[in-house]
């Protein structure tokens, strides 16, 4: 039964991809071929960090809280959440642009290497995982709490790093076995 499910799944996947192939115009991709890709297209266009800091500034929240209007405060937090999500989405759009650019360039390469493509897929996948986690955190806890959460994690990572460093120092070079080239003779 498992075998049947596997075989039918392969066949259905084949039919799905054939449908995608048949949907594409024969010369749609060829339309892109006439252009040389501008080298500046390979530059990463990151959304400005200052913008994120500006709409996450604590002063705004403090000011809204000082007005003693819960509705206004809620509105401000909601707006900031939307802005943070939009900022994150901009990074995803940039990732999608870079991926499309890579595909457009790589499909002409003679020395296309599957290992490099897998590595790239992994890089894209890990970015998507981080992006999804950030979107979920912003959506569930809001941008301010997400920021505090990230700060806590970083502080914790620093503490652990320092602790690891101190442990390594306390072991000292005397406890590490020395390599003696003549020991085996």
């Amino acid at each position: 039964m498992m075998n049947l499910v596997f075989v039918v799944a392969i066949s259905l996947a084949l039919l799905f991809f054939l449908w995608l192939v048949s949907r594409r115009g024969s010369l749609d991709a060829a339309g892109h071929n006439g252009h040389i890709i501008d080298p500046s297209a390979y530059l990463v266009r990151l959304p400005p960090r200052d913008l994120l800091h500006r709409f996450l500034s604590p002063e705004d929240i403090e000011y809204a809280a000082a007005l003693n209007s819960p509705a206004l405060l809620r509105r401000v937090v909601q707006e900031r959440r939307k802005l943070a999500a939009a900022w994150l989405r901009q990074t995803k759009r940039e990732a999608a642009r870079l991926f499309r650019l890579h595909i457009r360039s790589a499909r002409h390469a003679e020395e296309l290497r599957p290992s490099a493509e897998v590595k790239l897929m992994f890089a894209a996948g890990s970015f998507l995982v981080v992006y999804a986690m950030m979107m979920a955190a912003v959506g569930l806890y809001g941008p301010f709490r997400t920021r505090r959460f990230l700060e806590t994690i970083e502080t914790l990572a620093d503490v652990l790093s320092n602790l690891g460093g101190r442990i390594a120092e306390s072991i000292g070079p005397s406890l590490v076995p020395r390599f003696d080239p003549g020991a085996g003779r």
Binding site: V7, S11, L14, L18, A29, A106, R107, T146
Partner: protein, 254 residues
């Protein structure tokens, strides 16, 4: 039902003849030799079967039928080979690699069938042919899935002829694999559906081929002016994803 089967059989043969005559007039045989080799094999086997049915005994007809089926299964792989050759024509390195993989896989499947046949050719002819057909069809389904995914993922430019070949043959192989799997699982209860599904799949494929391969359509040639330093592009994109990932998390620091 019998009328329907005759109608499908007649339409199929008419379309096949149309396609071959048209290809001969448009000089398509030398452009797609493996593909038309398969079509000629199909037409030849039809003629052989009709001839054997008319003049030979039932036993000779059975042997002729299964021998032609064995040869058709082998010739069918030529269509997949043709699809790979045509789509990957501008990409020398990938095409060479694909040919090696296809050749090795085909040789393994064929060698297994030939070993089985050498022991007792007449007795093993039917089970070996059925197994060879199934193995080659499943292998082709995987190979066509891979090339279709590559075409979609890398937006590889393909011409009308190649698209028709890929879509038509892929559809036929997909239908056959599903049909054979369900037949082996459900048994004779599936036969009523199967005798409808398989001829209809074949007919649809011939329609797709007639529409797409009626005249020659050149495969779009990729422009080599585009950046082709693959190693550099790949490294650059990988680094860019790393930067984006860091940017998404580290930008939140006050």
């Amino acid at each position: 039902m019998a009328l329907f089967r005759y109608a499908v059989w007649f339409c199929g043969d008419a379309l096949l003849v149309c396609l071959l005559v048209r290809a001969w007039r448009a000089s398509l045989f030398r452009r797609y030799p493996h593909f038309f080799g398969y079509l000629i094999s199909v037409a030849g086997s039809e003629l052989l079967r009709v001839y054997l049915r008319a003049v030979a005994s039932e036993r000779h007809y059975q042997i002729g039928y299964w021998v032609s089926e064995f040869l058709l299964a082998i010739a069918g792989f030529g269509v997949t080979w043709q699809i790979y050759t045509t789509i990957l024509a501008p990409y020398r390195g990938v095409r060479r690699m694909a040919h090696t993989v296809l050749g090795v896989l085909f040789a393994v499947v064929l060698a297994k069938a030939l070993v089985e046949l050498t022991t007792n050719p007449i007795h093993n002819l039917i089970p070996t042919t059925v197994e060879l057909e199934w193995n080659l069809r499943f292998l082709q389904a995987l190979l066509l899935l891979a090339i279709a995914a590559l075409v979609v993922h890398y937006a590889v430019p393909i011409g009308r002829n190649t698209r028709a070949m890929l879509v038509g043959y892929g559809f036929y192989i997909g239908c056959m694999v599903i049909s054979l799997s369900l037949r082996s699982q459900l048994g004779a209860a599936f036969d009523a559906t199967r005798i409808l599904l398989e001829p209809l799949g074949y007919l649809t494929t011939l329609f797709v081929w007639c529409a797409g391969i009626w005249s020659y359509s050149r495969n779009p040639v990729p422009n080599i002016l585009i950046e082709t330093d693959y190693h550099r592009i790949s490294e650059q994109t990988s680094r860019a994803f790393g930067r984006l990932r860091t940017h998404v998390t580290h930008s939140w620091r006050p």
